[in-house]
Symmetry: C2
Subunit: 580 residues, 2 copies
């Protein structure tokens, strides 16, 4: 390692150390010189069509690889991406947002340049980002920059939340001390798992005591398990205990769904049998809770507090008692080890139905409805699949899927920004390919990313289908064409025009966006159509993009919350308009 | 007028009073009930494909109609649009950003709902908007709401800058007092033109004295003339004085370019002859100055201060002396009246070349280059055209056009957010159609919106071509396909991959996005191809969308700043890479 290197090289070396192998973004005059250093640092540059999409893609990438990054330009670029950064904050995706800013001389002189308001004020956009990132650095001198970078990246990893770094154009090539790269390596595992404190010892002893005496214990794995970087330990605990285990929208796929003690997503009051069981448990080990209303069946899936022990990023919560300053990684790692030496008492069991349907059993002339569709698609899934369900009916749908092992699922959790999932699929598929290529994907030598998305959402960020094509990613897109925003229709305005969207010819998208003539596309209306698609070798075992448009009725929604909403809206519409 | 009406009706009535006849936006669960009231208020709802695009469209609409509005939903929607709002601030577009927020009960209880960070904090996004809007209102009670709405809308009109209004879902249908609608009408003309103050009297007397004694006067019309709402008065002054008049990127089209005393855009040091003239003038009347570097040829087109009298939103600047609290509208209106009674002395004249080219004179087999293209296209332009040139080579190009009367031009000025211009064209074309329909478009019974846009920019916001189709707007799109970000290539990274974009099949866009089979599309490479397009009746006199892809070399840029940059980059590339 040389004594000094360029600031951009330092930053990119750090990202590389953390596992970043692709950076998303859009070029702009204040970041071009920074981009010169990306590929030489061994990092692939993905130019997205716009910055919001780049932010979404970096988010999707980060959820699979543990960290992601995007580069935008001052003002126009960074503000276009800011909603994606906010989403990464809300759902704990560790995304590094790097912004190329005007040279320090320009800022010092308060020049009235483009991408400003012409008032000499240059700090406005950083202030806006402070609301949606967990740490910020405005790099300004070569002495401080390395430590500032390290501090911010450490916060990104520890909190699994986005951070913000401004790099002035004239600082890109400035030499900085390389020393820290050697004496302070960074990695995604920053917590010393063995570190103990009296507080942690105390809390863990209480936890173990409750475990030893529990008669009807269970486990609830929520999605911040990913953010806490405790997925492997939790998987181990779920296996070791063999206790009944439920997941959430947010965590689906984080633990292997195939064993019989895994009972899928806990739907609270929408699943009275499961709720009765959960409410009667005397111990709920809850990992990475994230109890927003949309991730907890309107709070009905929050387990009773008295019986619950929650492991969060920095606390253990036992009933009403909070034990602070106990990093989740350390605590859960210790818990796993302790559990492996315990002889656990017999526990009450729970049984859930496997409600998958064989697609072959469905009448080939019958029209596709979501009531059966999701349960019929499970048979198509394979180990290693990343399955993504965009906010809308698709996100409710993928909750029904029975995933194969080593799968991941990304669904609507809290931010629910429609348009997110298509660029996120591009980022996730790229991260998946990198993991497969580096033999870091559970021994699998190939894998697919499968996106389910509604027509309205698809329109938001359609450009990134072009990036999927350009990057030749193995992505299957199921476009649910229900002629507008069905999710909004069932909430309000069932027959209102404002819930319509422009009618595109969706299957022309691959050709328009640059795909080869042979790209697989199909429109399906019946189970027979879908059977034919799944039987097509170039679809099921093909490479690159494949796209299927599923024609659905405007009011086709699943039983449960959406159907309940729909019935209310239909009734209201009848009363107001005399419409049926 | 009833004594009370619903809050949403009050807000929409106010917007209608101000001339808003279309609102752009995207539905979301927190704004759906608000949207119920849009069409009943006599306002057309334009559902855009995403919120950034809606913001851009509302901006484009506002620049033509004098005010625009968009509706988004809390968090995800409003943040997606925030870059468009920032651009409206930078370039003084009066856009009302209305955000549907969660019910007050939800906010009061700090519920962990979707579109939040799950931390009970609901004011974050409003704080972010305070950086990019000139006034904000978080409506919270029925007593204050009407006055708050009026105050914010007044600020929007007075400053010609965006404002921000939060409407909680449960307040939409709440009754508010209707009284203010009657006793305080709002309009776009809020300044009493006749209001005088001693300060204004003094300043105007100095101005008039300088006008009377000037031997070599001139006028520089800049783009804030639109924001100050003094276009008609300035047009009158330009005609009355017959003084040599220059414009800027920002103001092009605001004054009629056809008289011989109008000399187009003042390019400062890029036009030595003009600069010699300007520098020797003993009086420069400057209306609505906006001297960012990108709107003033890197500041070289700022006229000498000693000779300059500037009329801004609230000041008259005479040399080094600033006379404050003089609204531009009032001052310029008085100046116009005074000038109409003066016998002006003879003044020095200035002569500029008409450098347009007849397209017919160009060899039909010769490849199209921008060096001639813009000058050859002028002949195609008609009275009433709105001509738009997206940031990039297109924006430099349209500076070369000779506009017909009653035209408008929108070019890159200060914000320079690529992707802006296509949605802005949708908004502008809609505003144009409304003006034509209401016989408020200079007596013209039809008009066109003509967009010039590069391939990289087109990709950013391509969705809105679908909205242009859906709304059946009369828009001609010239897509300049130069295989990537040529504007970035000439700045830095001439041969770098990061300046490439995905290669789309651009002419498939209309079909993909829902156009009828008969939509006019053409790809042109030679002058002959372009001659054929202009000769095609369905193109030149057609309706709806028409799209022409112009194939250009990657390094095809105009003489001037871009060519200067290109030559520097070519030289640097030769030195570094040995490439020619």
């Amino acid at each position: 390692m040389p004594d000094t290197l360029k600031l951009a090289e330092y930053l990119l070396t750090r990202l590389h150390q953390l596992g970043v192998r692709s950076i998303h973004g859009v070029p702009g005059d204040f970041n071009l010189k920074l981009l010169d250093h990306v590929e030489p640092a061994g990092i692939h540059w993905v130019g997205n069509a716009n910055e919001l999409n780049a932010g979404y893609a970096a988010d999707g990438y980060s959820r699979i690889k543990g960290i992601g990054a995007l580069v935008t330009t001052f003002g126009v670029g960074e503000l276009s991406a800011i909603n994606a950064i906010a989403g990464a904050y809300a759902e704990r995706a560790p995304v590094v947002h790097i912004v190329g800013t005007p040279p320090r001389s320009t800022q010092d002189a308060r020049l009235r340049v483009h991408h400003t308001f012409g008032d000499g004020e240059y700090t406005r956009f950083a202030q806006m980002h402070a609301h949606v990132t967990v740490a910020q650095a405005s790099l300004w001198d070569t002495q401080s920059a390395p430590e500032q970078i390290d501090t911010v990246l450490t916060q990104c990893v520890l909190h699994s939340r986005p951070v913000y770094i401004q790099v002035p154009l004239d600082l890109v090539d400035a030499p900085v001390d390389a020393g820290r790269l050697t004496w302070k390596p960074l990695s995604l595992d920053m917590t010393a798992p063995e570190a103990t404190t009296p507080s942690q010892d105390l809390a863990l002893s209480v936890v173990l005591q409750k475990i030893k005496t529990a008669k009807q214990p269970m486990i609830l794995v929520d999605g911040e398990t990913r953010a806490l970087r405790i997925v492997d330990d939790v998987q181990n605990i779920v296996q070791t205990t063999n206790w009944p285990t439920f997941v959430t929208n947010f965590s689906k796929g984080l633990v292997d769904e195939t064993p019989s003690n895994i009972h899928g997503i806990y739907r609270g009051s929408y699943d009275p049998k499961a709720k009765a069981f959960v409410d009667s448990c005397d111990l709920v080990l809850c990992f990475g809770p994230h109890f927003t209303t949309t991730n907890s069946a309107q709070s009905s899936a929050i387990p009773p507090k008295a019986a619950t022990i929650s492991f969060t990023d920095n606390e253990i919560q036992i009933g009403e008692q909070t034990y602070r300053d106990i990093p989740g990684q350390s605590a859960v790692s210790r818990l796993r080890k302790e559990l492996s030496t315990l002889d656990l008492e017999p526990h009450s069991d729970y049984h859930s139905e496997n409600n998958t349907i064989s697609l072959a059993s469905l009448s080939s002339t019958e029209t596709i409805t979501q009531a059966k569709m999701w349960r019929a698609i499970s048979g198509f899934l394979r180990p290693g699949d990343i399955v993504m369900g965009e906010t809308g009916t698709a996100s409710y749908g993928i909750q029904e899927l029975r995933l194969a092992s080593h799968s991941r699922a990304l669904a609507a959790v809290t931010w629910l920004s429609i348009g997110y999932m298509l660029p996120a699929a591009q980022g996730a598929a790229l991260a998946q390919r990198e993991l497969v290529a580096s033999e870091g994907y559970n021994g699998l030598s190939q894998a697919r990313t499968i996106l389910f998305i509604g027509d309205g959402s698809f329109q938001m960020t359609v450009q990134e289908l072009g990036t999927i094509i350009r990057e030749d990613l193995d992505v299957i897109v199921f476009l649910l064409n229900n002629d507008g925003y069905t999710i909004e229709r069932v909430i309000h305005g069932l027959y209102q025009k404002y819930n319509d969207v422009a009618r595109w010819r969706y299957l022309e998208a691959p050709s328009f966006l640059g795909a080869d003539a042979g790209v697989f596309t199909a429109r399906v209306k019946t189970w027979g159509d879908l059977q034919n698609v799944f039987a097509a070798e170039e679809f099921t075992n093909g490479k690159g993009l494949r796209m299927v448009e599923i024609m659905l009725d405007r009011e086709d929604v699943l039983e449960g919350p959406l159907m309940d909403l729909l019935l209310v809206e239909k009734k209201a519409a009848t009363q107001v308009n005399g419409k049926a």
